[in-house]
């Protein structure tokens, strides 16, 4: 755990619903968020004045090279960590989080993993099994209920992890390079699954990746973060119709443009 900072200013995370008035126009909002780690005096700024907002139902991809603070940013949104300055607001309740490693509990079957998430989300026992099966059906793993995690392939594990994340009943899904460790064929299929689930469930997705094509293939908007400290460097609307394919011309063209900017960001850090 990083030590708490003495200089911490207004560091609050709005948890659950605010008022009964009109629903907020955003599902995630980072308002001048900065995050520094380290002892006072020797602090290292990881995120610098991030201003970012995701509309309800939006698929937003965060792109950046190493050291852009992507994971830190997701931790702040997930409420696992507090910003040094600024506020992170998630008005629709605690977001669900998915990792590069599936992080499924190996002592539980696939179905039980999903049921535990349902249980922690307060779903009554009687409804858990049915809901878990429905969620596994949704990620197209109808036969996986009784399977142990180690009996599933990498792609299947990530789908169970997706089902478990959905079981938390959150409208916001945070994904931390969830497909980075998968092979290209599996990843491509999971892109399709995720797009489908996002649309069916009307989720707000914050998807962190360092794969430009992946970002363009999935997101309605791509935000490029600079590195050390992480700042919002650039952003693109991805005006391409779904369903998209990774080899679409539109995806390729935009990915090339974004890659150019990404390279500039990286080159800034080269030693001369």
């Amino acid at each position: 755990m990083p030590p708490k900072l003495a200089t911490s200013t207004a560091a609050t995370t709005t948890g659950t619903a605010t008022a009964q008035a009109a629903p907020p126009p955003y599902a995630v909002k980072l308002d001048h968020v900065s995050k520094a780690f380290g002892a006072p005096g020797a602090q290292q700024l990881v995120l610098d004045d991030i201003q970012l907002q995701a509309a309800p139902g939006e698929f937003l991809c965060l792109l950046g090279a190493s050291g852009c603070g992507k994971s830190t940013l997701l931790n702040l949104v997930a409420g696992l960590d507090q910003p040094t300055a600024g506020t992170a607001s998630v008005p629709f309740g605690r977001p669900a989080l998915m990792f590069q490693d599936h992080a499924l509990f190996p002592w539980l079957s696939a179905g039980r993993n999903v049921e535990l998430a349902l249980r922690l989300a307060g779903v009554p026992r009687a409804r858990r099994r049915t809901q878990a099966r429905e969620l596994l059906d949704l990620v197209r793993l109808p036969d996986a209920y009784g399977k142990r995690v180690h009996q599933l392939s990498g792609g299947m594990r990530q789908r169970v992890a997706l089902a478990r994340a959905l079981a938390q009943g959150s409208e916001v899904l945070l994904m931390d390079e969830p497909f980075a460790a998968l092979d290209a064929i599996t990843r491509d299929l999971l892109h399709e699954e995720l797009t489908r689930v996002w649309f069916e469930r009307k989720l707000t997705v914050l998807f962190v990746t360092h794969n430009v094509r992946e970002a363009v293939r999935l997101g309605q908007r791509v935000v490029l973060l600079s590195s050390r400290p992480g700042r919002v460097a650039h952003e693109w609307e991805v005006d391409l119709p779904y369903p998209r394919r990774i080899e679409d011309n539109g995806v390729t063209t935009l990915a090339r443009e974004i890659t150019g900017h990404l390279h500039q960001e990286i080159v800034r850090h080269a030693r001369h």
Binding site: F59, R94, D101, L120, L189, R231, V238
Partner: protein, 297 residues
């Protein structure tokens, strides 16, 4: 470039539901990438039981050979030892002694687990406790039980209490240290995943931390049992008080200078140790590891 906080409109139409081709691709890939679980329980149980039985047979054969060849004047035949066991069974001393010792070990082990497990959890949670108590527990762990018996006897008097004190001092440190090690080996990612799902505090401990640490917990208890059993035998043997038990049988055999009776007691001590190990802890450990995919087969 500007950091916008404008909310963009829909970045494209809604996705069409994927076609059958992708469904079939998905299920085809799933089939290719998962191995069918193949196992034959009864055959494996037999394969597991054979080597230990062979080992026992080999020891008996060698022993009998050594007796026939007269390698040692003191060595009784396996039959004589069996006879000594039979005698004590017949005169009604064997079963009570066995029962007393096992009961004592169960009580001692239960108490040790009740103290050692929470202590181990506390060691991972409280830094002060870890830095102060950690080295002490490790040090006590390396102490032979025989060194503790006189301390306990003088401190508590030659009583049942002294015997339990020795068992506790043997088992508690080993359980606590093992539990702490098991907990600190839990992958942080699992804890983070649990926290993000709302499993914090006691709920986190029950649903994530303890099940994740279970393999370490079981092996800590197993080691605790072994240490406790050894410590108990030492205590029963050395305490001057006539406490009924296998250790006492050993002491009486020594006093009577009967190698058969001594070896009969040794055999019993060994048998109890091996039996509890192979009937309780080994299957438990295997189950825990197997369910997590941590064993080879």
């Amino acid at each position: 470039m500007p950091a916008t906080d404008t909310v963009p409109a829909d970045g494209g139409g809604p996705p069409e539901p994927p076609g059958d081709a992708s469904t079939e691709m998905t299920s085809g890939l799933d089939a290719l990438e998962s191995q069918p679980p193949g196992r034959d329980a009864s055959r494996r149980a037999l394969a597991k039981a054979t080597p230990p039985l062979l080992a026992v047979a080999a020891v008996l054969v060698l022993w009998q050979l050594a007796f026939w060849l007269g390698w040692s004047a003191e060595l009784p035949a396996p039959g004589a030892v069996a006879g000594a066991l039979g005698d004590s069974l017949a005169d009604g001393t064997l079963l009570p002694a066995l029962g007393q010792s096992v009961l004592r070990c169960l009580i001692g082990f239960g108490a040790s687990a009740a103290i050692g497990v929470p202590l181990g959890v506390l060691l991972t949670r409280v830094t002060v406790l870890r830095t102060v108590l950690g080295p002490i527990l490790s040090a006590v762990q390396s102490l032979p039980a025989a060194a503790l018996v006189p301390v306990a006897v003088i401190g508590l008097g030659p009583s049942e209490g002294a015997v339990y004190a020795v068992v506790l001092l043997g088992a508690v440190p080993s359980i606590a240290v093992g539990v702490a090690a098991g907990i600190s080996q839990v992958p942080p990612l699992l804890l983070r995943a649990g926290r993000s799902m709302g499993a914090t505090g006691p709920r986190g401990a029950v649903h994530v931390l303890l099940p994740a640490a279970l393999p370490g917990l079981v092996s800590a208890l197993r080691q605790g049992w072994t240490f406790g059993w050894r410590a108990l035998m030492t205590a029963e043997l050395i305490t001057a008080t006539p406490l009924p038990g296998i250790g006492r049988m050993l002491a009486e055999g020594t006093a009577a200078e009967s190698m058969s009776r001594v070896l009969a007691a040794v055999t019993l001590i060994l048998a109890v140790g091996v039996l509890v190990e192979s009937a309780l802890f080994t299957p438990l450990e295997r189950r825990v590891l197997h369910s997590r995919g941590l064993t080879g087969r």
